[in-house]
């Protein structure tokens, strides 16, 4: 603004300068003196002194500048003499038109007479231009004038002018850009003011609108809508002793407060120079990269730097802090009780197996001879003979002590089950295969015994032929070759027989034909009268195995998931034992008759105390695979279980006469001796009647004796 005004002023002044012959400084003085005189205005008394000083300074400056100005004005005058609006320096008369209109013509316009004005002959091509550029020292100041089409060489002055303009300076060298501003309108009252109007009335009376505004503000302040300016309070960073009065009373909330766990401290992994074993190998690194970030054990890759200056910034630093923040306010907290358990304390204190001897410990004999897996074994009541039935279709009789095969009977079919008559005065063996139960008289005993057994078999011959109503079971005598082998009786069943068991007296035997659809699953045969009967009229599920009570007239039937106990005299069910297993495989009754163990295909062995409950007293899960057979010892407090994992586990199981004391069960020995074949291990297990020996038959076609 100032500059522009100055310019205006200067231009205005020019004609005056020309007219006046006096010294210019006088007129300047007069202007400023006027300003100074009127400097004492009522409103700005304080600032007036300063103004004066500034004014005087300005005057001094002016004086200098004016002297310079005179010189320049002399030059200007000279210029103006030539310069008149009529006499323009017109180089041609084409007028101010775009010259490209004539680009393709030899002329550049017309003169006043209407004749063509030709372009100066210009035969410069690019090469000439270049040569010119290289050789002509004046080239840089040569300018092409489009209007005339001629090249003009600039003079030194003109070059200087161009330079000045390029620098952003005024074209005139003598032009003073910093001349002081002349104030036309100021607060000072001048002798000859610009306007001379008297003051308005409204400038004397208080403004109503302002009053309204003020009252509004006052009202707002009074009502508390506007608060007075807040005192600048540097609340942040002002600290004092906050805990001056510590009250130990804990807030109720603090009882529920769970302090956040601290960040785990870094291990050797995190060091910038860790021991070499903490660095990742290539495989570990690949694994780390493959893993999901949530699964990684370490959230970072350990790195090694040879010196501290090489350690870069950790890119995840802010992230980790942020995660911590999120954990602190977003993560649900729960008090977890962590018990520090010594694992040794968890192991139950049991009597030492050493103190519970005798029990079988070593494999002493192996009975080889069968070619198929041996499904069933049975020991004679005298303990001298062992009978075994195998899938190769033979029943073999072994002498226990010498492991000699005394006799082999080919029965023509895979033998499912063999059972020696428990009556010591007879010598008979029941064999189950296909749908037949055979009664064999192996004649491996005293003459007396053989005779008595023959008598037992032939006793009913004198009586009537069995006149059973159902007729589904057919008794027939063996003849010819079979008779020579020792076969005596054949009991033909309607379906495949799976198991056969004797009653303790040796007169009755029961057979199982597992079938889910009919009630004809169990038959009880009476040998002396050659009679068979089906005790159940209802199907209660797939019968797995059966057993007679050793003393009392009870009958145990194990279905798939439970064991039912029937009273044969009263013809009713007395108990139903829940085994909690999926599929029962075998069952054995304690010689005392009050305890039952049962093995199942889901690796469990359950011990029932019949007096205690219908639920298992103890579940043993010590086998890795399905339990195939279980057995009690007749005299010693021992029981054994055989499993598909190829082991026989012998346990000590004392039963106390005192009803209040629970049986003591201690596993005493794991016996191994069978080879796993076709994923089958040990199939049957049985104890020696008098010695603490256990026999086991396996899928590897052998029978082992452990003593």
């Amino acid at each position: 603004m100032e500059r522009a005004l100055q310019q205006i002023f200067n231009f205005n002044r020019k004609p005056a300068d020309e007219d006046k012959d006096d010294d210019l400084s006088d007129s300047e003085d007069s202007v400023y003196s006027g300003l100074e005189d009127s400097g004492s205005d009522s409103e700005e008394e304080e600032g007036s002194d300063d103004d004066e000083e500034e004014g005087s300074d300005d005057n001094d400056d002016k004086m200098k500048e004016k002297k310079e100005g005179e010189v320049s004005e002399e030059k200007k005058k000279h210029e103006y003499e030539h310069d008149s609006s009529d006499e323009e320096d017109i180089r041609n008369t084409v007028g101010n038109i775009p010259m490209e209109w004539y680009k393709d013509f030899p002329h550049i316009g017309y003169n006043l007479d209407g004749k063509k004005i030709y372009k100066p002959i210009r035969n410069k091509d690019e090469l000439d231009d270049f040569l010119d550029k290289m050789e002509n020292p004046e080239y840089w100041r040569t300018v092409h004038d489009k209007q005339t089409g001629s090249d003009v060489v600039l003079s030194d002055d003109q070059v200087e002018l161009v330079n000045r303009l390029q620098r952003g300076q005024f074209g005139d060298v003598n032009f003073n850009e910093c001349e002081p501003m002349v104030e036309f309108f100021s607060s000072d009252v001048m002798i000859h003011p610009v306007t001379n109007r008297p003051a308005d009335k409204r400038s004397f009376i208080p403004s109503l609108t302002e009053k309204e505004k003020v009252s509004k503000l006052v009202h707002a302040i009074k009502m508390g809508w506007i608060k007075p300016r807040r005192v600048e309070d540097d609340g942040r960073g002002r600290y004092y002793n906050l805990w001056a009065s510590e009250d130990s009373s804990i807030l109720a909330r603090h009882k529920m407060h769970l302090p956040a766990p601290k960040i785990p401290l870094p291990g050797h992994h995190e060091s910038y120079n860790p021991p070499p074993e903490y660095l990742f190998t290539d495989e570990e690194r690949a694994l780390w990269e493959q893993q999901d970030p949530a699964d990684r054990k370490l959230p970072f890759v350990p790195r090694k730097y040879s010196s501290l200056r090489q350690v870069p910034a950790f890119s995840q630093f802010i992230h980790e802090r942020f995660e911590r923040c999120l954990d602190l306010y977003l993560c649900p907290r729960q008090r977890k009780m962590r018990v520090n358990v010594n694992p040794e304390d968890l192991i139950p204190q049991l009597p030492k197996p050493k103190d519970l001897q005798p029990f079988p410990t070593t494999r002493s004999l192996v009975y080889r001879g069968h070619s198929g897996l041996v499904r069933s074994i049975s020991v004679s009541p005298s303990g001298q003979w062992l009978a075994s039935g195998s899938d190769d279709g033979s029943v073999r009789f072994w002498e226990v002590c010498s492991s000699r095969c005394m006799k082999t009977v080919q029965v023509g079919g895979a033998v499912k089950s063999v059972a020696w008559n428990p009556n010591p005065s007879v010598c008979l063996l029941a064999v189950a295969l296909d749908s037949v139960v055979l009664i064999l008289s192996p004649s491996l005993a005293d003459k007396q015994v053989i005779l008595s057994s023959e008598r037992l078999l032939s006793a009913q011959q004198e009586g009537e032929e069995p006149a059973e109503g159902n007729g589904s079971v057919v008794w027939s005598e063996a003849e010819g070759e079979e008779l020579n082998q020792g076969l005596r009786l054949k009991i033909q069943h309607p379906k495949a027989v799976h198991q056969v068991v004797w009653h303790a007296k040796g007169d009755y035997l029961a057979s199982v034909m597992p079938d889910n659809t009919s009630h004809l699953q169990v038959y009880i045969h009476q040998l002396s009268r050659r009679r068979s009967q089906n005790p159940f009229s209802r199907n209660k599920g797939l019968v797995q195995c059966i057993s007679f009570h050793p003393i009392r007239p009870y009958f145990f039937v194990a279905t798939q998931r439970s064991i039912r106990i029937y009273n044969l005299v009263k013809q009713e069910m007395t108990k139903k034992l829940q085994t909690n297993s999926k599929w029962i495989s075998s069952m054995a009754v304690h010689p005392g008759g009050d305890h039952v163990i049962c093995g199942s295909y889901d690796c469990k062995l359950s011990w029932f105390d019949l007096d205690l409950s219908t639920k298992p007293y103890k579940m043993l899960r010590h086998h890795k695979k399905a339990v195939r057979g279980v057995a009690y010892h007749r005299l010693y407090p021992l029981f054994a279980s055989a499993s598909d994992d190829g082991s026989v586990i012998v346990c000590h199981g004392t039963v106390y006469n005192d009803l209040l004391q629970n049986p003591l069960i201690v596993p005493v020995k794991v016996l191994r001796g069978h080879v796993m074949t076709h994923d089958l291990g040990v199939l049957d297990v049985t104890f020696h009647p008098t010695q603490p020996w256990v026999f086991s038959s396996g899928a590897d076609a052998t029978i082992c004796l452990f003593t």
Partner: protein, 585 residues
């Protein structure tokens, strides 16, 4: 059957919890405000014991707050402030919309603010509570103080954080409470023991951060707001406990007065104040002039329960601690330009050493490189131009390792251009069965006072070891040979047996004298015991068995990991040795 029907979920645990959304509605706050409030007041979700009961039968994942917590929030004065702020923003928007600039200015002047003092007092009723929770505050403040002063957060916050961290470091120096330092790849961990509380914090390396996109800086800023307040009050209390002036002032008549000329380089006194403070080179002014610097000898009250051994152990520990506090006393350090100045100066001053640095690095250097009394120069470059004879040129890791070992380690391993020994974490306390790196064993031996031989001897030892190993190998070979011999013998026996068999077929029965089997009694006993245990394990109840298996699995895993590390180390050492041998040849 009279009486009202009992409705579900109207009593019991269902009424003790409240979901987040319901809590928010109850407080009438927007989600960001609710978040803020939770952060400031330290309210966190609780995991109910029976989620289904609390969640009204549904198993949908929900966060639950304790109803009591939320009720407690209802009376918080800050909630009112939040609402005020909301109104303020609304008014400001309106004023902007109407382009009423005077109103904007007025509103801005009256921007509502709040103080967190009462919250601090409420969350930490005692000073010790506050100290216990100060880890996170320190970490956060140290992080924020390294932020560039652009975007992300307010400059004031950064400055305040810087000021507070400097105050904290000065306190740690004054109280000499630093215990452990660890250079990790993430940053530098420090552990100090303040009033019996172990406080750990991590400081990032001095680089500019590349700010991740998926981080919500509002949450971090809210936390920082709380933490700065907490840290300020804690600092005040700590300073007053040491009779130091708060806010800290440099001791004007201290011996280690920074040079006066350097002050002229800085524009303003107020600006240079914090920098001088952060130089960590001068001691602080005390309220009471340091009269009782020396702590009175603690009286001992032998309690009956404790036996003498424990007492002695404790005494020994105390003595060790005292010794550690004076670890660098009498040593004069000079930091080269390329080492992290602040961290090193902090550590050296914490243990009573004198430290200085190049004038161009930072204000507050007390002596020059040319000072002849300098004992150690910390340097982290492959070579140095001019070396002074009477000082060690060592790499910075030496200092940190010394602090962790609590003794002055031999400087040889840390000389210029030497491959540094591994830097171990001082926070790992190996239990029995854990893997212990050999360097740690070495250090422990040093701590016990066993002096390792110098390097030559070590080399010899190594050679000896190698010799031994070779011998061992030979022995092994011998053993193998023996084995071989045995095998040969067995084969012979077998052949004989076969021959016998074949002879047996031709009914030439021979009886060979049986060999006496030597039974190792101890081993038999062990086996018996193991079997007993195995059998007993069989009889465990299902629940206990599960627990036992879990514990044993964890133990086995630990052993496996330790073995793996040991094997890795061995492989590495072997390869190193092989390399060395090759190089020698």
């Amino acid at each position: 059957m009279g009486g009202l029907q009992k409705k579900k979920f109207e009593r019991g645990s269902a009424t003790n919890y409240i979901t987040r959304n319901r809590a928010r509605k109850k407080l009438q706050l927007s989600l960001p405000d609710f978040r803020r409030l939770c952060i400031l007041k330290g309210i966190y979700p609780h995991e109910p014991k029976h989620k289904k009961k609390v969640n009204k039968g549904s198993t949908a994942p929900r966060t639950f707050y304790l109803l009591k917590d939320i009720r407690f929030l209802l009376h918080e004065p800050i909630v009112g402030k939040f609402r005020e702020y909301k109104i303020f923003v609304r008014k400001l928007k309106k004023a902007y919309g109407k382009t009423e600039w005077s109103a904007v200015e007025r509103l801005r002047e009256n921007k509502p603010t709040y103080k967190l003092d009462h919250i601090i007092k409420e969350r930490y009723p005692t000073f010790i509570d506050a100290l216990r929770d100060i880890d996170d505050a320190l970490c956060m403040c140290f992080l924020f103080s390294t932020f560039a002063r652009t975007g992300k957060c307010h400059v004031q916050t950064i400055q305040l954080c810087r000021r507070l961290t400097v105050e904290w470091m000065n306190y740690v120096i004054a109280s000499r409470s630093l215990r452990k330092v660890f250079l990790s790849i993430k940053g530098i961990y420090y552990q100090a023991e303040v009033m019996g509380q172990l406080i750990t914090w991590v400081v990032p390396y001095q680089f500019s951060h590349d700010h991740p996109v998926d981080v919500d800086y509002r949450v971090m800023a809210t936390f920082t707001e709380l933490y700065t307040t907490l840290l300020g009050f804690v600092s005040f209390r700590l300073y007053s406990s040491l009779n130091l002036v708060y806010p800290p002032k440099l001791d004007s008549n201290g011996e280690s007065e920074p040079k006066e000329e350097s002050e002229d380089d800085y524009a303003m006194n107020s600006e240079s104040y914090l920098e001088k403070l952060s130089a960590l080179s001068a001691s602080l002014a005390r309220v009471v002039s340091s009269a009782d610097e020396e702590e009175a000898q603690l009286d001992q009250f032998p309690s009956e329960g404790e036996d003498m051994e424990k007492m002695e152990a404790r005494e020994k520990e105390l003595k060790q601690q005292e010794a550690q506090k004076k670890l660098f006393e009498g040593l004069k350090f000079y930091l080269n330009r390329e080492v992290p100045r602040e961290s090193l100066a902090f550590v050296i001053r914490c243990f009573g050493g004198q430290v200085s640095w190049d004038k161009s690095v930072c204000i507050g250097s007390t002596y020059d490189v040319t000072d002849e009394t300098i004992t150690h120069q910390i340097i982290d470059r492959p070579s140095v131009g001019k070396q002074y004879i009477n000082r060690y040129y060592i790499q910075p890791q030496w200092l940190y390792d010394c602090v962790n070992a609590k003794i002055l380690l031999p400087v040889e391993d840390y000389f210029l251009g030497v491959t540094l020994p591994p830097h171990l974490s001082p926070f790992v306390e190996e239990k029995e069965g854990d893997y212990v790196p050999p360097e740690k064993l070495k250090m422990m031996a040093l701590q016990r006072g066993e002096k390792p031989g110098n390097e030559q001897e070590e080399d010899e030892e190594e050679e000896e070891e190698e010799g031994e190993q070779e011998e061992e190998q030979e022995e092994d070979d011998n053993g193998d040979e023996e084995d071989d011999e045995e095998e040969v013998a067995e084969e012979k026996n077998l052949k004989k047996m076969e021959e016998q068999r074949s002879q047996g077929k031709s009914l030439h029965v021979k009886v060979t004298p049986g060999k006496l089997k030597v039974e190792n009694k101890a081993r038999l006993e062990q086996e018996e015991k193991a079997e007993e245990k195995r059998l007993a394990i069989m009889m465990m109840k299902k629940k206990e068995k599960y627990l036992y298996d879990k514990i044993m699995f964890g133990k086995k895993r630990k052993v496996r990991e330790a073995n793996k590390l040991a094997a890795k180390r061995k492989a590495h050492d072997d390869s190193e040795k092989a390399k060395k041998k090759k190089a020698r040849k």
